[in-house]
């Protein structure tokens, strides 16, 4: 950066700071979602993820006094415990109108000589001058402080058990079934097309390249209705074959464009020498062009895989929802609709579904940049 003439240090600072701000803007909510996916549902409801490591203050649902009645000193006494795990009582009450009327250790007078005492560890004693068998026992409203609780139960729930149609594990396999062929087939087709458009001379080549560039821009909604009608007409209907063909078709313009740009940048001498030596076009393609084009192929593969993985529209239309062929994105949308309040499930599902794209991206990252840039610098 120092060798660039005229670059002011202040400008570079502004760039660095804005990059850091943007990264933080994106990373902090994602980290919050990760923390939420490991907490239990009750704790998510009671406090935000930034308080996940502190003691959780929570208003419990009313607990009815119960226990064996013992006759003691002429009065009838019922003893019991409110909590089974280590919990600190902060305040308690006997009516929903005043749930925090008493402090731990206080004695509440419930009328007609009945008293109730609740200690800080949740042990309560109910004393009554007449027998309480057959009467309705009071309920205790407690505000308690529980230690932070982390669990992996959300993930096991999400992966194994069916929710909103089918389990995430099954949807994961479905998405893989859709994504891998939908990445491999376009590459196969586009590599041949790109070589022809780059290194073979035939009339109409310029028009075809212009057409491909134009098709890059066309929105895929335009083709959905005719394509679906066509699939129904030839009998494919809804299914994996239809969606593979659809993704291939939608991905081909970008594939041919990227690969052609890269292949045009390959050194002309090698190809000319090979032609002089009598190699056919197919031999040049398989022995020279394909090995050299590997960065571009890899970068397009990443693009296409990520796009197909994240795609919802084509999957909704060509596969449908609510069946055993549903993909992850459709599953997530259903989850948001039917269990939108269960944050622990939503966050765990979100992380299960982004695990694979993250893995693909980070492992093949160097190919992405190399493949994209190599084609654009002429």
């Amino acid at each position: 950066m120092d060798s660039i003439a005229g670059k002011k240090p202040a400008l570079m600072w502004a760039v660095q700071i804005s990059v850091v701000a943007l990264v933080l803007l994106w990373v902090v909510p994602t980290f919050g979602l990760l923390v939420s996916s490991f907490r239990t549902g009750d704790q998510i409801v009671s406090s935000g993820w930034w308080q996940a490591l502190t003691e959780q203050e929570q208003q419990l649902s009313p607990i009815r006094v119960e226990g064996a009645e013992v006759a003691l000193d002429g009065a009838f006494v019922i003893e019991g415990r409110l909590f089974t795990s280590a919990t600190d009582l902060l305040a308690w009450g006997t009516s929903s109108v005043q749930p925090n009327a008493y402090a731990p250790g206080d004695t509440a007078d419930l009328g007609e000589g009945v008293t109730l005492t609740v200690q800080a560890d949740g042990a309560y004693v109910l004393t009554s001058p007449v027998t309480t068998i057959g009467t309705r026992l009071p309920r205790i409203f407690a505000t308690a402080s529980t230690p932070p609780e982390f669990t992996t139960r959300n993930y096991t729930n999400v992966i194994a058990s069916p929710m909103a149609g089918q389990s995430i594990g099954q949807a994961f396999l479905n998405t893989l079934t859709v994504a891998i062929p939908a990445t491999v087939i376009p590459i196969l087709v586009a590599a041949f097309a790109a070589y022809a458009l780059a290194w073979m001379d035939f009339p109409g080549r310029a028009l075809l390249v212009a057409l491909i560039v134009g098709l890059l821009v066309v929105p895929l909604q335009l083709a959905l209705i005719p394509l679906l009608q066509f699939h129904n007409w030839i009998g494919i209907g809804k299914g994996y074959l239809g969606i593979w063909m659809a993704h291939t078709g939608f991905g081909l313009p970008l594939a041919i464009y990227l690969l052609r740009n890269y292949m045009v940048g390959l050194p002309r001498d090698i190809i000319e020498n090979a032609k002089v030596d009598g190699a056919t076009d197919f031999q040049i393609f398989t022995r020279i062009i394909l090995p050299l084009s590997f960065p571009a192929l890899a970068s397009f593969a990443i693009f296409q895989f990520l796009w197909v993985w994240n795609d919802l529209l084509v999957a909704l239309i060509f596969l449908g929802t609510g069946n055993d062929q549903q993909v992850l994105t459709g599953n997530l949308v259903n989850l948001m609709g039917s269990r939108g309040g269960d944050w622990e499930i939503l966050s765990a599902s979100a992380f299960v579904s982004i695990a694979v794209p993250l893995l693909v991206f980070f492992s093949m990252q160097r190919f992405l940049v190399r493949g994209l840039l190599a084609g654009s610098v002429k």
């Binding site: 134009g214 821009v217 929105p219 335009l222 959905l224 209705i225 919802l312």
Partner: protein, 79 residues
Amino acid sequence: MGTIVVVWTTITITVLKVFDIVLAMTNGQWETQVLANYMYDKLFRSLDWGMGSASAMIIMALVTPILVWNVWNARKEMR
């Protein structure tokens, strides 16, 4: 300038097609309806193929200037 214009047009096209985020978050309620979600809604919920096709054509019409410009640039480069 050329890079900015290319990125701008690419992002514009992507935004015109945005569907899944709108469907998952609001489904077009509270005045957040967009063209792509409107098309999906008309096609597969109301089963109104005419309105769905019309909205697809509107999306295409919005994108046509960028298409023409891209093709023109590509032909210029090929010569």
